[in-house]
């Protein structure tokens, strides 16, 4: 199935494909018994924090792309997974959220992005700090994996460890005028 589309809830984690083990819980459904890790909305996390923790499974939080991560971070800093979203293929607000979570907020858990993630967004999301990427169901997973390597360098510093081009050029001889 390696070349199939992403209809089996597969996630790109780092450089490989894994099955999605998280269960998304809406705000109405009762907290299930069992061992599957859960993802809940920020609203539900706020309202039912204790009950969710009492379930004894890992609980991640989904953030709307309108959420100010600077403001809400204290409430979610200890979560193992934060889920960001692309409600449309061209709405890039989650990229700033990821960048801030990984950068100045120093979040070290997993950052996942899902929604309308085209193959063309995979390396962009990765560079902003999303270590888990769930492409849209119709995207070819092998293409998405290949797209991770479509750029071997970059100008900007990013979560993939590439330093700023300006830093990399320090110490070089000045180009001849």
């Amino acid at each position: 199935m390696s070349d199939a589309s992403n209809d089996t809830a597969t996630v790109i984690r780092d450089d490989r494909l894994i099955a999605d083990r998280w269960t998304e819980l809406d705000d109405e459904t009762a907290i299930p018994a069992g061992t599957a890790p859960l993802v809940v909305t920020l609203a539900r996390w706020r309202a039912e924090r204790d009950a969710l923790l009492a379930a004894g499974v890992p609980v991640g939080v989904r953030l709307a792309n309108t959420e100010d991560v600077d403001d809400v971070f204290a409430e979610i800093a200890d979560r193992p997974l934060l889920v960001l979203g692309f409600p449309k293929h061209d709405d890039g607000r989650a990229l700033t959220q990821a960048k801030l979570l990984r950068g100045r907020l120093g979040y070290r858990g997993d950052v996942r992005v899902d929604g309308h993630i085209l193959q063309d967004l995979v390396s962009v999301a990765r560079r902003c700090g999303c270590n888990e990427i769930k492409p849209r169901a119709d995207q070819e997973l092998q293409g998405c994996l290949r797209a991770l390597g479509e750029f071997s360098t970059a100008y900007q510093p990013a979560a993939d460890g590439i330093e700023s081009v300006f830093v990399r050029r320090r110490g070089r001889a000045l180009p001849a005028g």
Binding site: H89, L95, T96, E150, F166, R170, P175, G177
Partner: protein, 563 residues
């Protein structure tokens, strides 16, 4: 001029390969029209009326001889033998084939050129004063900063999917020749009282349906913090720019809805947060970073004045054509014995801004014979040879005349800014080019133009305002009324030095009336001005709308070219 190293070169080649793959997926039906649209725009490809249009970035208007020759080749091989210069100093091909675009991108990449983010909702080509490095009124050469910003914004992952397009413009001189405050961000580089270099940031400018000039958000950002403050602005935009309505999605709407104070405070708060975080370390420019970029823009190897200076008065004697060209198209240079030369792309009967394949190649030769291998494109859709020895002016003029590139009309009535209009553009509501020709015909006599003096006429074929009609002394906007082309007229706009937006006069004029109307406005000015020293704009500012309005609609009065 900046030259690509292995990092730049790798990026543009990988970008071309990425687009080739995307095009393949589109043909295979794996990308919807809407999805492919967003991807192709980010590679400069627009779908126009008859064919795709490919916009090629010319960062801050700089081109070298090799690039000019390549543009000659590309326009001949892939388009219809010409390429069009825009107000953002870029080149547009109006007739490429979709499937040729990956090859074109590779041919561009080979000569340090690209179409990265030339269209689409992302950061666009950085523009700049076309006299950078040679103008007498320059405080700081802006080009190293333009290049630093270009690299920071190219494929910047955080800001690739913005609410709407985003444009930066730089100037480092007393006079703003870059129309900077019509951009989302204008950066004015200067020295403070302590002699330190810094930036004055204006944010929220833009033309189109809601023309507005950028507002001052910070009077002095330290030199090291260029990319930090720019990041703060863009982060506010990415988070808070509207995404539900394309017509309200520019950053100017955030500034307008929030009010300047709230917007400024939000940017300031983000700027402070970055400064207090590790991110500052990756974004702060060290003196050596700026020196590195500055070394690409050295002072050319000018020859001593005694070897290059010439008595232009004597040269011009007996050749009124040359004298007129010296007067209109040649400007002072900060190096003794040198001049900067404007190449007019507004010859009679031509399309404003168009350059043929043969002209690109001839211009490449001229930059080498009469300069240091460089050419600039300007906001006004003309070109500049930045470093011409005075002794070379006469032979240069003769050669330019042979190329039909020596029309002595820079800054005059026929030096109009004009978008492609209905002839090419899929967005246009009305023709621009034919109206431009009609107006041109009425004032073709240079004596008439010299009598009128400096005047800026700008024309757009639709509300999107690519022809900058909002900032023309006389601005013309084509509109569609029940399938007919009509033209609104605006007066009193100017994009630089105390910029202002034009005011709409009144009812629109028909296609048949518009050139007559413009002529009546110019005649009104000649009648109303204090003396020949008072420009059209100054006269309008002194007298206001009423006398001009009366004359614009005074149909039936004798109409003949201003004499």
């Amino acid at each position: 001029m900046y030259r690509y190293d292995e990092i730049d070169q790798t990026l543009v080649m990988e970008r071309a390969a990425q687009f080739r793959e995307q095009l393949g997926r589109y043909h295979a039906g794996k990308l919807s029209e809407d999805e492919f649209r967003a991807l192709r725009l980010r590679n400069g490809l627009y779908m126009q009326r008859f064919a795709p249009m490919l916009r090629i970035n010319v960062p801050y208007g700089h081109l070298n001889a090799t690039q000019l020759r390549r543009l000659g080749h590309i326009t001949r091989k892939y388009s219809k033998g010409y390429g069009h210069f825009t107000t953002r100093q870029n080149v547009q091909l109006n007739w490429p084939q979709l499937d040729d675009v990956p090859d074109i991108l590779v041919e561009l990449a080979e000569v340090d050129m690209q179409c990265i983010q030339a269209c689409g909702n992302d950061t666009r080509n950085v523009t700049c004063d076309h006299l950078a490095g040679v103008a007498g009124d320059e405080i700081v050469d802006p080009r190293p900063y333009c290049e630093l910003l270009r690299q920071w914004e190219a494929l910047n992952p955080e800001f690739l999917w913005l609410p709407r397009k985003f444009k930066f413009a730089f100037t480092g001189a007393t006079h703003d020749r870059a129309a900077s405050r019509t951009n989302d961000v204008a950066i004015h580089i200067y020295r403070n009282e302590a002699g330190e270099i810094g930036y004055r940031f204006y944010v929220g400018g833009g033309l189109g349906r809601m023309p507005i000039l950028g507002k001052l958000t910070k009077p002095f950002v330290p030199e090291s913090d260029l990319l930090i403050y720019a990041t703060a602005v863009m982060r506010i935009f990415n988070r808070f720019g509207r995404r539900d309505n394309i017509h309200h999605a520019r950053i100017k709407v955030v500034v307008k809805n929030w009010g300047l104070e709230k917007f400024r405070d939000a940017v300031e708060a983000e700027y402070e947060r970055i400064l207090a975080s590790d991110e500052a370390g990756t974004l702060k420019l060290l003196p050596q970073d700026i020196d590195y970029m500055r070394s690409f823009f050295p002072t050319p190897a000018y020859r001593p004045a005694a070897e290059v200076e010439a008595d232009l008065g004597a040269l011009a004697n007996g050749d009124p054509g040359f004298a007129a060209w010296i007067k209109r198209n040649v400007v002072a240079h900060r190096q003794e014995g040198y001049r900067a030369v404007f190449i007019s792309l507004k010859a009679h009967g031509e399309v404003a801004g168009d350059v043929s394949s043969e002209q690109y190649e001839a211009l490449a030769d001229l930059t080498e014979t009469y300069g240091f291998g460089e050419l600039r494109s300007t906001y006004d859709q003309n070109l500049v040879l930045p470093d011409v020895a005075e002794r070379d002016l006469y032979p240069l003029w003769q050669r330019l005349r042979e190329l039909n590139l020596a029309t002595p009309n820079i800054g005059l009535l026929t030096d109009m800014i004009c978008c492609p209009g209905l002839d090419f553009c899929g967005l246009a509501n009305a023709s621009s080019i034919s109206v431009y020709h009609d107006i041109y015909d009425r004032f073709e006599s240079l004596d008439d133009q010299y009598d009128v003096g400096p005047i800026r006429i700008t024309m757009s074929g639709c509300m999107n305002g690519c022809g900058h009609h909002s900032v023309g002394h006389i601005g013309i906007l084509g509109v569609d009324k029940h399938g007919e082309e009509w033209y609104q007229v605006m007066l009193g706009g100017t994009p630089s030095d105390g910029p202002s937006l034009g005011e709409r006069v009144g009812r629109a004029l028909s296609r048949e009336e518009i050139a007559d109307g413009v002529e009546r406005l110019v005649r009104a000015y000649l009648d109303l001005r204090d003396d020949a020293e008072e420009s059209f704009l100054d006269c309008f500012r002194r007298l206001g709308m009423e006398p001009f309005k009366t004359r614009l609609y005074a149909v039936g009065e004798p109409e003949k070219a201003a004499a």
